[in-house]
Symmetry: D2
């Protein structure tokens, strides 16, 4: 994800330095005019803004607060934009730590997988102090197709991102149960999906419906082991805000079941198989 965003930022005319733990990945950016940095701190050199796009809370904490990390290197007044799908608790910590250092912080998680990132088609959800978000808008335009300003509390953008992921997971559970019922009734689930495609008229239903109807979860657009992380983050936010989310809890249980069956590298929608399996299919 990060390399596609860096490339698009460079293409848009911004001076970009990039850091990746895997040197090769970073080197590949050189052709696009991206300076290859030797550490997160090095990437922050003279930067007005630094994006982080990392796999989880631990990786983000390491890059921001670890040795040669962002927090110590970023100059006062510069802005850290975290685009990773991370916990709302970590976002609040990032906002507080950067504020303490005189740095700005903006949350800007995204919807879209690497191909969408490459095509500048990400959906950006931005939250943070208005003045900071405004300064970042041209950058969001360079990497995404649309930016939604969610509010002034940075973690609120992450709430919307997590709720959005939950919305996809809820759709997958629904499609999985419906397809199981269709199959147990002797109905070709493709017929059910035809009708849903007309009724919902949504590329999401078409895309995920095809995977589920075809029981076709490889290669993974987004692997289930990362889906588990997202389900956990949703439930963690639900817990910290005292919001019962019984469907989110059910989905988490079904993801665990699918992982216990070895589906970690399949697409995250493959937990729909649990409904089929529990129907004896």
């Amino acid at each position: 994800m990060g390399s596609r965003m860096a490339r698009n930022l460079a293409t848009a005319g911004h001076a970009v330095a990039g850091y990746n733990r895997s040197k090769e990945k970073a080197e590949a950016l050189r052709a696009d005019g991206v300076r290859v940095a030797s550490s997160p701190a090095d990437a922050c050199l003279d930067a007005e803004v630094v994006f982080t796009m990392l796999s989880d809370d631990a990786a983000t904490e390491e890059v921001v607060f670890g040795t040669d990390g962002v927090a110590d290197a970023l100059v006062k007044g510069a802005i850290h934009i975290a685009s990773s799908t991370i916990s709302t608790a970590l976002v609040r910590r990032l906002a507080a730590e950067h504020a303490r250092r005189g740095q700005g912080y903006v949350s800007a998680p995204v919807f879209g997988l690497p191909p969408a990132a490459a095509d500048r088609k990400l959906l950006m959800m931005a939250a943070g102090p208005s003045e900071l978000v405004e300064r970042c808008l041209p950058l969001f335009e360079a990497v995404g197709r649309k930016t939604f300003v969610i509010g002034i509390d940075p973690w609120h953008a992450n709430v919307v991102k997590l709720c959005g992921n939950f919305t996809i997971l809820g759709m997958v559970e629904t499609l999985g149960e419906a397809c199981a019922a269709a199959r147990k009734s002797g109905v070709d689930p493709a017929r059910y999906l035809d009708v849903m495609n007309e009724l919902f008229a949504s590329p999401m239903y078409r895309n995920y419906g095809n995977k589920i109807v075809g029981d076709n979860f490889e290669p993974a657009a987004f692997p289930l082991r990362l889906g588990l992380k997202d389900a956990r983050l949703i439930l963690k936010t639900a817990d910290e805000t005292m919001t019962p989310m019984p469907l989110a809890a059910m989905v988490h249980a079904h993801i665990l079941a699918a992982l216990a069956l070895g589906q970690g590298e399949m697409d995250w929608s493959s937990f729909a198989r649990i409904a089929a399996r529990n129907a004896g299919l």
Copy 2:
């Protein structure tokens, strides 16, 4: 629903007789060239095809098997098309009883509410013996915008209809929980819905999302007390086909909760309030 369909059939040039328990409703059709029948049997007089569009299993059984009912009046070779949302068990009984009498039976449940019926925009799901379904296609074209042929077992069309209703209910539960989490986090759920509208790009999400975000469930497009009936039918089919549908069961429980709170005349999507209520909102 039935009057809109009768009107569109007459407009398309078919000779139509209509029966409704409420005489006034039937009389209103006279202006459109519909003959007002005095009983279901009278409506079957000389009919090649008879549609039933009734509220539930009991009403359908009464009209078909009751005094002056369809079953005894329909001539051999004529076809009964049931468009109601009824149980798969009743559909199998209808198919068997009509076959025993030398009559045809086709299931053709629909998606779409009365305004869509008036505008000939229903989605039709048809199932039955191919030759019969083919004979009915011009009629489906007269009342709907698209017909999906599901298969040769009539009850299979009803499975798709019930799975489709379940798909809507699953979406409502998902939106309800997500909006509750957003609100408990201090996020305006309208911001979440903006993003979902871009992500799913579906009129269903937009339409139901607006109701849920605005907590605006009156007037009901389809009342929750009828939604309960549909949830029961889904679970009955799940039970008879040995398909565990835990989300369908959860939705049924939330519908019961909403009805226990007096929401029977609100829109069926109003059970989304249970998620908010259980979050203390």
Copy 3:
């Protein structure tokens, strides 16, 4: 069940006539002084009280309202005691129909399996008009170890019976999930059960816990296919009283899953395997 109860009634000095669809089963009672009746109506001849103990609603309706049934044969003032686990809706119908005929009706469902019935160890839950229940108490004493008078509405006894069955099913689900977690953690579930036996000090936990820990569900004390019937009756009563019972719905889904896997003749507690199976065990 019925034969054991008949035997104990005869042993207690009552004049007993017995009817069973299987003639052999009825004949076996002759040695205990039970008159073998040729039909339900014949069993009602001169009877002050008639017990029915049948597998489900359909069997009960057949014996009571069918040809040579109880309803037409029972004299005015005599009492029908239904001890079967039947739906609360049917009980209300029985009460109304008997009242209409000048007959009495008392519900007296039981806890206890055939060996307990043989040993006069059933728990009786009785409900009906006080005067009628009082008249029946000596009979309950002849077949059970303890009688609980639940109230004056007959169906209320069945509510308690169904809630009691649900309580057992809830325990089974709980033990099943806990044992799955223990096993996935590398803990011998027998150790967990040891502690529960001390903590709950309940023969129910010991008995069902042993089955679940030992994955030993055959022979069935009570088969899962009948357990499905009970789960359905619970949910039907929940539905008619507008009581969301999410755990009952979850148990029903897990029973369906176990039946879809062919466990119909195993003990009804064998749906605990679903928790293990979904954990990849």
Copy 4:
């Protein structure tokens, strides 16, 4: 809890030093011959064994790894026994850290509330290297009524403790739903409980059943806000061992709902109210 255990250890003839953040609580132990320590480290002085009994992971980490903590003070060969209800992850860390320092570690969580602790009636679940557990047995006998040796992996005792808490929570959910159904049916739930007390013959059902039937959750024997902690720990262990526990997830959601309604200081069984509330009671 800790003070009762310290008193019983002293009464049994052991030389005991006690530390509590609240000085007064510690001072009260002086009368029983307990030396009042000024810090966790001071309590470890010359100790062969040190018990910790603290509210959660954070408090345990502070006392063990914080300034003047147990880890640095305990002599080689001495044993740390953690009796708190803490996460299995923390237990594994404790075992590893103590091993690294040449110290022993044994997990010994308990069942029983302060009055049971005062009366030496705790149930002890012990796990750790056999030789260490054996050395600790006389201490467990001094504080509890029975000790269950779970295994050689310390965290396995905590799995049993958490599964046991879950078993209680599952019972509460079950009783709550059953009582709601009884009440909605017009049945006095006390009648249902009478039957359950005979059927289960368990003090747990009697005790918690009384609270639920009487809607009597104050004063709390154990407050719901701590129950939330336990539900979280169960789900955390379920997650780390890839064990779907849908009932545990449901209970967690109902606890959140009850907390959102302000029931934090009521008894932890008070989440049974959610079933009643969702039934419109």
